[in-house]
Amino acid sequence: MKLLLLLMTAGVSESAFAYIDPGTGSLLLQGLLAAIVGALAGIKFYWKKISNAVARLFGRRQSSDQE
């Protein structure tokens, strides 16, 4: 549970203008969404490197757009 909550709230920023109570359930959900999106973005960023690494492992040529 602790790990899950930690994962959901990985980012850091000050929340503004909460004159209504946003509710921890809703905030944690948004934290989760942010974490998932972050993870997906991370996967996308590293995808090329990983796929190239895999390609190298199997002895194929690197894709041409690799620097």
Binding site: M1, L5, L6, M8, T9, A10, G11, V12, S13, E14, S15, A16, F17, A18, Y19, I20, D21, P22, G23, T24, G25, S26, L27, L28, L29, Q30, G31, L32, L33, A34, V37
Partner: protein, 463 residues
């Protein structure tokens, strides 16, 4: 509590950055110095004029005076024809308001602003069209901001819609009792397991409500949660997926279809129906009212006739959700100046909420110049045991002139109301109906409209 001698609106207290005042039929809003940056951004980003041009936001004029209490700005809002509340809306109206809320938010994000809340009370209807009314909900957006109004959106819009879509029970009674809407925990408790676990419900309702409960004593989690950052694209994704979901929701309905509803229940032969329409037209032509209230409006057939005859605007009331859906569809498809609303005349909307003044009663929102109440009184006098004289006095109090139908014994609709019960209505006679009117108004004219002896009484209140 006063602003230059004006009275503050009872529902205007949650957001300390401004207040709404009404005076002499005009609506004013103060904007404290703290809120002026956001207000300027709203105007300067072009969002304000874009929304007002599309009739998505009430038009506002900045006044050349300042609020002596805070030194803030004073603006004047366009006045709405009638203020209605979510518990008076049909499913389709709450759904239209929900979509409007999301559309305004998405448009705001395009202009570098966001919405600080998602209260269904910030949306009103002008005829069939939703309009956003809270200028102070707009805030400057900064990358990473959370959607603070997400829970309120769920409680005010999503949960009530899901409730009616899942169980086929109108949300109106629930929303009337609870100013904060329907909580996720209450909704989840009602839902069978397979519903709780269906993907969208799980993500938007079950999971947040479980997180809310399990983190309530976990201060560290709450602290971290408030520091999460949401990318703009993710916020837009949330708004768009909620929009898709809400668009797909429909009320669960048994075997009744809207199409046959009116055909089945009215018992006028065509010539009788024509006579009734003709008399409604004559009544409207006689009084040329700006605002008509149509009590028991059903699908709005006679509201439309009143509009064709020259009434500027009609608010219709009924307690039959299906009929109201038909009426709302009529208003929308034919672009009528007609707003149908849910109301049980035997238990009309009260003054309630904080201090008993936050949301106004139907009676304190009276603004009709003329009233029509066709095939209406017998539902209350017989169906709900309201004494005729009380009922007539109430109807006459709603508008200075009116057209009220009397349904006599022997009429098939009235007999149906008495079929399974003892007839304890010795006082239900046309003579008593007439004297009840004469006690509070004068009878200007009487027209017979059916072979069963239905009559339309024209009344006008004594000056």
């Amino acid at each position: 509590m006063t602003f230059g001698g004006m009275s503050i609106e009872g529902g205007s207290f949650r957001d300390p950055r401004g207040r709404v005042y009404s005076h002499d039929g005009r609506i004013f809003r103060t904007i404290t110095p703290k809120a002026q940056g956001d207000y300027r951004k709203l105007v300067e980003s072009g969002l304000y004029s874009r929304l007002v041009d599309k009739h998505w936001l009430t038009a506002t004029v900045e006044l050349a005076i300042s609020d002596e209490q805070t030194g803030g700005l004073v603006v004047e809002h366009e006045r709405l024809p009638f203020v209605s509340y979510p518990y008076e809306w049909t499913f389709s109206q709450l759904k239209a308001a929900a979509l409007h809320q999301l559309d305004v938010h998405l448009e705001a994000l395009n202009h570098g602003l966001t919405l600080s809340d998602a209260s269904a009370y910030n949306v009103q209807f002008i005829d069939a069209n939703p309009i956003f009314i809270d200028l102070l909900s707009f805030r400057r957006y900064e990358e990473g901001m959370l959607w603070v109004g997400h829970r309120q959106f769920c409680e005010h819009y999503l949960h009530p819609l899901l409730f009616t879509a899942t169980f086929g029970i109108p949300f109106n009674h629930w929303l009337r009792s609870s100013m904060e809407g329907l909580s996720g925990q209450d909704l989840v408790s009602l839902m069978p397991l397979h519903r709780r676990l269906s993907p969208r419900t799980f993500l938007n309702v079950t999971l947040p409500s479980w997180l809310q409960r399990s983190s309530s004593n976990n201060d560290a989690a709450i602290e971290r949660a408030s520091k999460a950052r949401l990318r703009k694209a993710t916020l837009e994704f949330m708004l768009r997926s909620l929009r898709d979901w809400v668009s797909s929701l429909n009320p669960k309905v048994g075997n009744t279809t809207w199409g046959d509803y009116y055909e089945v229940t009215h018992n006028y032969s065509d010539s009788e129906s024509r006579a009734k329409h003709r008399i409604v037209s004559e009544f409207i032509t006689r009084w040329k009212p700006t605002m008509v209230w149509d009590m028991g409006c059903n699908t709005g057939e006679f509201s439309e006739t009143a509009l064709s005859a020259g009434a500027t605007r009609v608010i219709g009331f009924d307690f039959d959700q299906m009929a109201l859906e038909g009426a709302y569809r009529r208003a929308k498809e034919r672009k009528l100046a007609f707003l149908p609303l849910f109301q049980d005349a035997a238990n009309p909307s009260p003054d309630h909420g904080w201090n008993g003044v936050e949301r106004k009663s139907l009676m304190s929102r009276r603004n009709a110049d003329a009233l029509i109440a066709l095939a209406f009184e017998h539902h209350l006098a017989i169906g709900r045991n309201i004494p005729l004289d009380h009922l007539i006095a109430w109807l006459v109090s709603l508008a200075p002139v009116g057209l009220v139908e009397f349904v006599p014994r022997g009429d098939s609709n009235l007999d149906r109301l008495l079929r399974h019960r003892e007839d304890v209505f010795d006082d239900y006679t046309e003579d008593n109906f007439r004297s009840a009117i004469e006690a509070v108004a004068q009878v200007d004219r009487v027209d017979v409209v059916s072979a069963s002896g239905r009559k339309l009484y024209w009344y006008s209140r004594r000056a």
